[in-house]
Amino acid sequence: MIASKVAPISERTSESTVNRNNDWYFRKPVSSKIKYGIPVSLILGWELVVSLSILDSRYLPAPSHIFQALLVAVSSGQLLADMQISLYRILTGFILGAAPGLVVGLLIGFIPFMRMFIQPILLAIRPIPKLALLPLLIIVMGIGEASKITLIMLGVFFPVAINSASGVLNLHQQYIDVARNYGASKYQFIKTVAIPGSLPTLCAGIKIGFADALLLIVAAEMIGANSGIGYRVWMAYSIFDMRMMFVSFIMMAGLGIASTMIIRFMEKRLIPWNK
């Protein structure tokens, strides 16, 4: 009698294979038709809306026109030249900022005296938006490459320094105890515990630093430059070339995605134990 109220076993199992646990409501897998269909139809809709003159193509050029402009920019070599100079500024500033950032961070982390000495200075300067320093840098260094690279350097230095310090300072006490209990020397401790243990936090700092670098380069090139992706946007604004402006947006998106992918790849190689 009781059994009759329960669904036959075969029926229940077939149901449970269809509704697996992870299919519940917002975990439902989306078909790839929808996944790729949405962006494609958005672009098609955009094209349609502009070509029907519902939106003014002077302000919002049609995707097909942007694509044409993109091809022109690629074939004329202008796009590559802009990318190159911006990347040069970003990478130089990044290396010049990350390397001392790492050193200062480790000093803060390992040497209590340094922590007392540097940390207050660091914490006082960090909240200043680095972009605000650009006028000062231009006055001191002129409008050339130095001011832009220094700006990026500053933008990268702080997150890297602060994260590498907190990576060391937040090492799990248990790991320190294990190293002591197994007789690790100071050097062995740094090599086998402190450095690998703080790598994930350090990598997070590098990611933040790189994101800041992208932000700063665009702003810096808008103000004082005659080349680069930021300059290109400002140029497009000045001569009201909306297609060029959108081409620049695409470049920036590409640059952002590419750098994220590269950093993620390096992170996987460097920190294989991180899930």
């Binding site: 799990h172 790991y175 105890d177 197994y182 007789g183 690790a184 086998t192 134990w273 991180n274 899930k275």
Partner: protein, 265 residues
Amino acid sequence: MQVEKIRIEQLRKQFVKKNKMVEAFHSISLQIKDGEFVSIVGPSGCGKTTLLRVIAGLELPTSGTMHIQHHDSNQPLNAMVFQEHSIFPWMTVRENIAYGLTMRKVPPSIKKSIVDHYLLKINMVNFAESYPHQLSGGMKQRVSVARAFANDPEILLMDEPFTALDEQNRLLIQQELLKIWEENQKTVVFITHSIEEAILLSDRIIMMSAHPGTLIAEYEIPFPRPRKIEEIRSSTFYKNMFNEIWMQLKEEVEKSRSMEGMLPI
């Protein structure tokens, strides 16, 4: 083997917490023989972990004396097995087990053969190159135990190593520990809050009082070795022993419960 290994006299540990002196334990006197397996049980917060850390040399006692016989200065004196999260996530299982040997700069060929031996002992040969995040909780603790044994210390200190494991895994790992230990009979100081675990594994159980901890009772566990966990658990002697210890421990746990909220830890 009746040689004395650890002698502790009138040991006391105090520390400062929120500008107040707090006593972790006091008046602890204790002798542990070479090759003896001693468990320390007591209500939580009684200072048993602190006592173990003092024996390990990770903390200094406030007063009292502690003398540990170090037979061979080429061998490490002690190795500790921690509660959990103590194996390094950035090292493979092999590197983790070898940690003590690496720190002592043991030649790679010897290191490899020792690690291989313990990989086999803990049934994890196929996981030698895995990282801890790929392992279950039980496997991680097996690695932690193997790391301590591989370092070949004169004393093993274990701080509730199996507490976080589920019962099935705990029973298996206890049996594995017995097997490895019975081979080389090192001196072991084992902290646990499980009476059952203490009876199954040890030669002697020492009970600590509620906070501030001190020694209040001692029980000899006469089961012959090698031990079979199932046989011991089903014996009447075990049940009587369990009850006897529990009746006494219960009092201490109740005391410690009535002090809850006043506890500094």
